[in-house]
């Protein structure tokens, strides 16, 4: 394909913008609904239904160099390389997060996450002494240059072409090198046999849902590929009552939140000074944050003493 990524995105953006006019919403974030009347329908569902908008990624350079493709050299046959042509991305608007932890609860319920683990964890953050505290939900960053994938000795963690860092608990040997390598603390270990509820056992053992937790293996957030396949947002994004978590396809340049607001990803990041956590480490995360500026919700109460850990960004 002779199309560069930039020109492709331009074409795609122009087309999407034309189709989605008129634009709604205020402030810096321009919001528009891709299909009025069907809230909660992520943008990527619409594009699935409109032939011609899905582009195969293999011919395109991606934002993080070509590491992602290189890491997918050993795809797991049980899942393959993921949905072709997609680059899943998440945007978390820290200005909207009020720390209610509905995302964590929804995630835990959906995946039957074993006790003691939080695959999306909400931290109380404070960047420096003078700064106001804010809430910081931390899912797995699905890094394009993932330290956990690099160190895994048996390919139990691997990078799919659609951007998701997968985890295979039936392959994991439990060395926990990935936990040591992850700078975000996004990985958890099943220290004991996880309690298996009848509901969990009723579900099929499926790596894309992360069901069937296994003693002595590592697990983490995987952007809910099972739900994406069904045309739904990941559990955390869907459950957020504030619409703070946007999810979508970077190739399509559109992300959607639980309020059914679909916005152009690149504009959302550009206009709100979006950033990625620990950018300087070069992990190329697929989760973006919008700074907690002009929080709609009052700062959380100061208890317990927020950890001052400057330079988290």
């Amino acid at each position: 394909m002779g199309l560069t990524r930039r020109s492709f995105l331009k074409i795609l953006a122009a087309g999407t913008a034309a189709a989605a006019a008129p634009l709604a919403g205020g402030g810096l974030v321009r919001r528009f609904r891709i299909r009025p009347g069907s809230p909660n329908l992520p943008a990527f569902v619409a594009s699935r239904e409109t032939p011609g908008t899905v582009v195969h990624l293999s011919g395109l350079p991606n934002s993080g160099g070509d590491v992602a493709v290189a890491y997918a050299a050993e795809p797991n046959t049980r899942t393959g390389p993921g949905e072709a042509g997609r680059r899943w991305v998440m945007v978390i608007d820290l200005a909207r997060c009020d720390g209610c932890r509905e995302c964590t609860r929804a995630c835990t319920a959906m995946h039957f996450v074993p006790p003691g683990q939080e695959w999306i964890r909400v931290y109380e953050m404070k960047d420096h002494e003078e700064a106001a505290p804010y809430w910081f939900p931390r899912p797995c960053m699905q890094c394009d240059n993932a330290p956990c994938v690099k160190v895994c000795p048996v390919s139990a963690a691997w990078k799919r072409e659609d951007g998701i860092v997968m985890q295979d608990t039936s392959r994991c040997i439990g060395c926990r090198f990935c936990i040591a390598a992850c700078p975000y603390g996004a990985r958890s270990f099943n220290w004991v046999e996880p309690p298996h509820t009848p509901e969990e056992l009723a579900k099929p053992d499926d790596i894309e849902w992360n069901f069937r937790h296994r003693k002595g293996t590592t697990e983490k957030c995987i952007f809910c590929p099972g739900l994406i396949k069904q045309g739904k947002l990941p559990a955390c994004a869907d459950a957020c009552p504030m619409g703070a978590i946007y999810f979508g396809d970077q190739v399509e340049d559109a992300v959607t939140n639980s309020q059914g607001e679909t916005v152009r990803f690149s504009e959302l990041i550009k206009e709100n000074a979006g950033y990625r956590s620990l950018e300087e480490l070069g992990t190329e995360p697929r989760v973006y944050y919008l700074p907690p500026r002009k929080r709609i919700y009052p700062a959380p109460p100061a208890e317990p003493e927020p950890a001052t850990m400057g330079g988290h960004r």
């Binding site: 690099k150 160190v151 048996v154 040997i173 926990r176 975000y184 220290w191 002595g216």
Partner: protein, 514 residues
């Protein structure tokens, strides 16, 4: 050693005696070690049954004393082969009686150290996946390759110089049990000591000695890279490779000296393991002590001066925070005291300490008694007192205990000066303990560090971890003790070959490490 034939080498009797008869002391030792190993095995079965949840590890501090033990034993394994190889290659003649013991340490330390990783694994039954699905990009694969190469090479390097001794025992120990004779005959591999056989053996040993040096260096380098390749503060450091190699040789020398001290004392091998050997290895120990201090200062000064937030957080925790007691104990017993002890024969002012009345046994004993009484009273009265007004006194007691300990050490110095071998062995024991703590300081604080902005994580090893650790040390000692019962600890043919004249007692060591 048949009684009818006159013994041409009576000086070798102490070496052969342990192979011929077994005393009660040995049986007691083996029984005690087996008991400790059984407790460790029980702990491991518990861990297999219930999962790693029985350890103090958690999602933040996911590596603890198992990995500490792993790094420690792999470090000790450097003792042998590397030091023996360097001394062989450089033609240091005095090495001859100590090479066997050194090489054996390597093999046993690897045999105990490598399985520590297996014990740390959540799914040990999947270990073969490392070969089936192994990814060369993972430093774990580097370790697997490097350590298996080192173990194979070290076994070969231990075995080659054993061959002539095996033939010697085959011909000489005729009254030992049948299985032992069969073993010696098999291991002697038809050795008759012909010039052709000698030439081939020498060639093999020389080749192995040269090959094993880079392998040994690679082993501890890749062990360090397990940590160095991550992005964590305190681990992500370019000097980690050489830092670990120096630390490994340092603790390796200490392990050899400890083993030499133990065997000289138990088996009366003073005729082979002379004061000179301890003195020379003591100088080597001091050299690596200073090198290790240099690396330690480089590492901490660089990260502290730069003052990046995470580095500073770590350095503060080590210097006066949550890990400060382990850190300072490590520095004092692992580096400072051993340096003093190895230098003791050269420290003239030490004799002046005899004249200090406070350092006599009676005042020290009285001081200890008073301190013990006060401490016990505080302890009995409970935490409530300590937390209020007596809290101050609690600190005073701690400081007083420190002062008393220092005084006892000072009082011991003139005594040790009269016993240079004892002081070097003591230094080595301290280095071993200190280097274990140092590995703990490397592994745990970097993981406990708040990576995402949350509080420090905590880690408290449980009885399972301590039992398994004790079992690992007991296994190491047991393997070595059994080795000493089957194989001569001194390479007899190499010693015979050299017959290096021993310098007169009191002669100063001009012949430092070759």
């Amino acid at each position: 050693m048949t009684p009818t034939v006159p013994d041409p080498h009576p000086e070798e009797r102490p070496v052969l005696r342990p192979l011929q008869r077994t005393g009660w002391g040995f049986r007691l030792l083996v029984a005690a070690l087996l008991a400790v190993i059984a407790a460790g095995a029980y702990a491991y079965v518990t861990q297999l049954r219930l999962g790693l949840g029985v350890t103090g590890l958690n999602n933040r501090v996911t590596w603890g004393i198992y990995i500490t033990n792993f790094v420690f034993f792999i470090g000790v394994s450097h003792a042998g082969t590397l030091i023996s190889a360097i001394l062989r290659v450089t033609g240091a003649e005095w090495r001859r009686p100590i090479t066997r013991m050194a090489e054996a340490i390597t093999v046993f330390a690897l045999m105990v150290g490598a399985p520590m990783v297996l014990i740390d694994m959540g799914r040990p039954e999947r270990i073969l996946s490392v070969f089936r699905y192994g990814r060369l990009q993972s430093p774990i694969l580097w370790d697997v390759i490097s350590i298996t190469t080192y173990l194979t090479g070290s076994l070969l390097y231990l075995y080659l110089p054993l061959i002539p001794d095996m033939a010697l025992l085959r011909d000489r120990l005729t009254e030992v049990p049948r299985w032992k004779r069969a073993l010696y005959r098999a291991l002697a591999a038809g050795w008759r000591g012909t010039p052709r056989q000698h030439a081939a053996l020498e060639r093999g040993i020389s080749a192995m000695a040269i090959v094993i040096i880079p392998v040994a260096i690679s082993v501890h380098t890749v062990v360090s890279w397990i940590f160095g390749m991550t992005l964590r503060a305190g681990w992500h450091s370019t000097i980690f490779g050489p830092y670990f190699v120096i630390g490994a040789i340092f603790s390796g020398i200490a392990a050899i000296i400890t083993a030499m001290g133990a065997f000289r004392w138990v088996y009366g091998l003073g005729g082979f393991l002379t004061d000179r050997h301890f003195r020379n290895l003591g100088y080597l120990l001091l050299t690596f002590n200073l090198l290790y201090m240099y690396f330690t200062i480089s590492e901490y000064l660089t990260i502290a001066y730069g003052a990046e937030v995470k580095d500073t957080t770590l350095v503060h925790a080590l210097f006066y925070g949550a890990f400060s007691h382990v850190f300072w104990v490590m520095l004092i017993i692992g580096l400072v005291l051993p340096a003093v002890l190895t230098l003791i024969p050269h420290l003239a002012p030490i004799d002046l300490l005899r004249r200090v009345p406070a350092l006599r046994p009676i005042p020290l004993g009285v001081g200890a008694a008073i301190l013990g009484g006060v401490g016990a009273t505080l302890h009995v009265r409970g935490v409530a007192y300590v937390n209020t007004t007596l809290g101050v006194h609690h600190d005073v007691v701690l400081v007083a205990a420190g002062v008393l300990g220092a005084a006892a050490f000072l009082a011991l110095l003139p005594v040790l000066k009269q016993r240079p071998v004892a002081s070097i062995v003591l230094a080595s024991l301290l280095v071993n303990a200190g280097m274990w703590l140092k590995r703990y300081i490397i592994v745990v604080p970097s993981m406990a560090l708040p990576i995402t902005p949350t509080e420090w994580a905590t880690y408290q090893p449980t009885w399972v971890e301590w039992s398994i650790t004790a079992g690992a040390f007991a296994t190491f000692i047991l393997l070595y003790a059994l080795f000493a019962k089957i194989f001569p600890l001194i390479s007899l043919w190499e010693v015979r070959e050299a017959k290096v004249p021993e310098p007169a007692p009191g002669a100063r060591a001009q012949e430092v490490v070759a």
